[in-house]
């Protein structure tokens, strides 16, 4: 009798266990991460707008914000930077150990995980991924992050779920390096890689089954020019405290809307559920409506974004662009760049473009980066007199009608490219036009479609100057290494340099390499301060203003905790959910 009762109890426990796992969809043996977010309800379709279409869905070669935004949701990394605490947190690696000399990291991977197509994930995928990112022929933007003292890190498989990462030299905060390095499915990408076609795989026309990742979502459909929809990845490796597998949302749709105003109109009309970056003007206009329309706005304070004026200092210029070559004689003269910088009214720019919800900046490290900003960098105010002095010393003179001419009596005029989809940067360029007019410099503002502009800056180098913005990512200096190393892929003013073309670029190269390999935080800060000083003296880019981060979301969106780091609103997309009861009350 007792034995029967025992059997019954055991059987019921087994059934209960099976049911629970069936409900949660969690097979045994899967080492899931547990999220401590507020528990939400599954389901729901989030609609988000993107200003431009992603250029690719390949994390190895993607370089634009829209692609990164989408890829952050379809892929996962080994160790992740928690956007709320800015500290590292276990992701695909459940734990890691660092050797005493700081040169060896042993990472324990989660067991039993599967890619979004159901194929198991193990150490081979990790080794393959790093091999791809480090391959010079692919030119991945992540490659520079993985190069220390000129050598790539090496990743070895030391067990089915263990990898050992060896650093060629000491590397400051090396675990932050794994953030945003998407782990790739070897079973899908190995063949294209062997045939040398990896850079062209996973373009936008790839079928959804081929696009496989470890992120919370996977591709469902893509309609060129209109939208891209992601669906829940049923094999995602995180669950909430109740054991419910994340993500809560069943779908996310990105609408391509072209510009911010179209985004705002859609957000105000309730067609989209959250807005990533709102301009200050639109923020003020929306603020009045937030109570009645069921959304909430957040001013998160200074961002890491820096907007700057960029002169084309590239060594390789297309042969037909003789004008650019001639004008480079001016652009290369640091006194010319100093004169331009001193003629810019950054305060007015902040007032008009950001309505005071931003900050004027003199280097690329913004006030939003409390840890790394060099407080001793001077902030010279606009001075046309000093500006004229610099121009005079560089051999420029003025004609009787006030126009500036160089030593060969050629009038100084140049064009500034801006992205037509960014009102703010076009406004900055128009203000620059007016700021430089008293110096006798004529400027033509040329708004271009975003991709056309990127092609000119990154590929053909056929431009004179441009107003652009960069930033986001991480606060750590290493996140900017692509821009500041002369060999970096985002070394905008002179792309494709094999060795530094000026002595100060060589100095920056040296300082950046040194700070990467230094483990003492204080010394790193000292080195990075020096980089900022060299930047302020030589002005490879002329920094202008940095905006506050302004975002908004529907009130009923649960677990919405926007962050000053990229991506501000969707970094915890796996935890977002729609609160049903609030929806009922809002109608």
């Amino acid at each position: 009798m007792n034995r029967n009762i025992l059997r019954l109890v055991l059987a019921s426990i087994a059934v209960l266990f099976l049911e629970l796992t069936a409900i949660a969809g969690l097979p045994a043996g899967e080492e899931l991460a547990v999220s401590h977010c507020e528990s939400g309800s599954s389901g729901g379709h989030l609609v988000v707008s993107l200003r431009s279409e992603p250029k690719t869905l390949n994390p190895v070669v993607s370089n634009d914000i829209s692609s990164r935004e989408v890829l952050a949701l379809t892929h996962a990394d080994l160790i992740h930077i928690d956007r709320a605490t800015q500290q590292t947190q276990a992701a695909l690696a459940k734990s890691w150990k660092v050797s005493s000399d700081g040169l060896k990291y042993t990472l324990q991977l989660r067991r039993g995980l599967r890619f979004s197509d159901g194929v198991p994930f193990d150490a081979d995928d990790v080794v393959f991924s790093f091999k791809v990112y480090l391959d010079q022929s692919l030119g991945s933007p992540q490659r520079d992050l993985l190069i220390i003292n000129g050598k790539g890190i090496s990743v070895e498989k030391t067990g089915p779920y263990t990898v050992t990462v060896s650093l060629p030299g000491p590397y400051a905060s090396a675990e932050r390096l794994f953030d945003s390095i998407a782990i790739l499915p070897k079973h899908i990408l190995e063949k294209p890689y062997q045939y040398g076609k990896l850079a062209h795989t996973w373009a936008l026309d790839t079928s959804p089954e081929q696009l496989v990742g470890l992120g919370p979502f996977r591709l469902k459909s893509y309609v060129p020019g209109q939208n891209l929809t992601l669906e829940k990845n049923p094999f995602y490796w995180k669950a909430d405290r109740r054991g419910v597998r994340l993500p809560y949302l069943s779908e996310i749709t990105f609408l391509f809307v072209g510009n911010e105003n179209a985004e705002v109109l859609r957000f105000a009309a309730g067609e989209t559920d959250l807005m990533n970056r709102i301009s200050a003007q639109n923020y003020n206009a929306l603020e009045r409506e937030q109570a009645s329309r069921g959304f909430r706005l957040y001013d998160l304070g200074p961002s890491l974004e820096y907007n700057f004026l960029l002169f084309n200092l590239n060594g390789q210029i297309p042969a037909q662009s003789k004008d650019v070559l001639r004008k480079q004689e001016w652009f290369r003269d640091v006194r010319f760049r100093q004169a331009i910088s001193l003629a810019i009214d950054r305060e007015a720019m902040n007032h008009i473009v950001y309505q005071g919800r931003g900050a004027p900046i003199w280097t690329h490290v913004t006030p939003g980066n409390l840890l790394w900003q060099d407080a001793s960098i001077p902030h010279p105010l606009r001075s046309l007199a000093k500006s004229r002095e610099f121009l005079r010393s560089a051999g420029f003179t003025w004609r009787s009608d006030g126009s500036l001419v160089d030593s060969r009596n050629i009038p100084v005029e140049f064009s500034i490219l801006t992205s037509a989809s960014s009102n703010q940067r076009t406004q900055m360029a128009t203000m620059l036009q007016e700021d430089l007019r008293p110096l006798g410099i004529e400027i033509h503002v040329v708004p271009l479609e975003f991709r056309t502009m990127l092609d000119r800056v990154f590929q053909t180098h056929d431009y004179e100057a441009a107003v652009m913005g960069l930033g986001g990512g991480d606060v750590d200096p290493n996140s900017q290494i692509n821009v500041w190393l002369s060999s970096g892929d985002d070394h905008l003013w002179d792309l494709g340099e094999t060795k530094p073309s000026t002595s100060w670029e060589a100095d920056i190269d040296h300082l950046m390499a040194l700070q990467v390999s230094t483990l003492k935080e204080r010394y790193r800060k000292h080195l990075y301060d020096r980089v900022q000083e060299i930047e302020a003296e030589n002005l490879p880019i002329i920094c202008l203003v940095s905006p506050d981060i302004l975002v908004g979301a529907k009130e009923r969106l649960g677990n919405f905790h926007p962050s000053t780091l990229d991506s501000h609103t969707l970094w915890n997309a796996d935890e977002l959910f729609f609160a049903a009861e609030r929806r009922a009350s809002s109608h």
Partner: protein, 340 residues
């Protein structure tokens, strides 16, 4: 020419608007590039006749506007000092008709106050002044491009209709090609091929030439039809039989027949081409900043906050609507044979 009473109003309005645009330098209190960054998106200046105590003053005056600290785009009047509106005042230099330099403006106030009858844009530029200067681009692109179109249409239409045969066939096939062109996309495509840096003057000419050349096809076809029927009239045959040359017949007997079609087409094409210029400038593909055009002045309305809270930025749109309605009225009168 006898102008019927119904269209005297719209016609004189158009004349006034065109003359105002030509006299922009004199009528506008400010230059179209002058920025006052402390007055970004300020509403139209209030012109007062009496002060805060109700005491009347002459001439009318304005108060200086000051931004409310911490509130972007909200302005308060500083009533501590009155700034009387002066007439025929000296201020910034301008060139009338590109030749005559002057610094006398019809009206103005002394700085630091500003008299902005239609408010300011986001850079603090006077919308009223820009509206007048913008008219030079928008109005005259329409006029000149329509002139070019009609000139081409008359030439080609007459040649095709009068000589017939393979000449007619060739010109008409080219005409059909032009009719089938999606002109807006053509212009968008063309802009991508142009050099990045073109001066406002070049851009203006280019707009006129491109819009003018693309648009000859429809009026050309109409004129050809009239020429076809005119050349078969008995008096034309008679003239030819008396040995009149082709050019004599065309100038004296055929072209006068096309006059009413040309006038009707002009009233149709001018506003249409103005709209083409406005559209291109609105999209940032016309005459570049800081040169004013009604299209580029309307472009900030794409921005949600301007659309929602700066009603004075709609002025160029109102002027455009008025002009289109005037042309519409004239067109209707022409179609009903109003001119004789």
């Amino acid at each position: 020419m006898n102008v019927p009473r119904g269209i005297r109003g719209p016609l004189s309005l158009l004349v006034v608007v065109h003359i105002s645009a030509l006299l922009a330098g004199f009528l506008a209190p400010y230059n179209f590039v002058d920025q006052d960054r402390s007055l970004s998106l300020s509403p139209p200046s209030k012109v007062h006749l009496s002060d805060s105590q109700g005491k009347p003053h002459w001439p009318p005056f304005v108060y200086r506007l000051i931004e409310r600290p911490g509130h972007f785009g909200e302005y308060l009047e500083d009533t501590s000092q009155r700034y009387g509106i002066g007439f025929l005042v000296r201020s910034s230099e301008y060139r009338a008709f590109g030749v005559y330099s002057s610094n006398i403006h019809l009206f103005g106030v002394s700085p630091p106050a500003r008299l902005c009858l239609m408010g300011t844009d986001s850079y603090g530029r006077d919308v009223f002044s820009r509206l007048l200067y913008g008219g030079q681009i928008s109005l005259f692109t329409g006029l000149l491009a329509a002139g070019l179109s009609l000139f081409l249409a008359t030439m080609l239409g007459t040649v095709a209709g009068y000589y017939g045969h393979w000449i007619d066939a060739t010109i008409m096939r080219i005409d059909e090609l032009f009719l089938a062109l999606p002109w807006l996309y053509l212009l968008l495509g063309l802009r991508a091929f142009l050099p990045l840096r073109i001066s406002p003057g070049q851009a203006f000419l280019l707009l006129i030439i491109v819009i003018g050349i693309v648009g000859w096809a429809r009026p050309g076809r109409l004129i050809r039809g009239i020429v076809l029927s005119a050349k078969e009239r008995t008096y034309v045959r008679a003239a030819r039989s008396f040995g009149a040359s082709d050019s004599y017949v065309i100038v004296h007997h055929i072209l006068p027949q096309t006059r009413s079609v040309i006038l009707t087409q002009a009233a149709l094409l001018i506003p249409q081409y103005m709209l083409a210029e406005v559209t291109l400038s609105f999209l940032g593909l016309g005459v570049g900043e800081p040169t004013a055009s009604w299209g580029s002045m309307l472009a900030p309305l794409q921005s949600y906050h301007v659309l929602a809270s700066c009603w004075w930025m709609f002025f160029p749109g109102l002027v455009l609507i008025t002009i289109f309605l005037s042309y519409g009225t004239i067109l209707r009168a022409l179609q009903q044979g109003g001119f004789s």
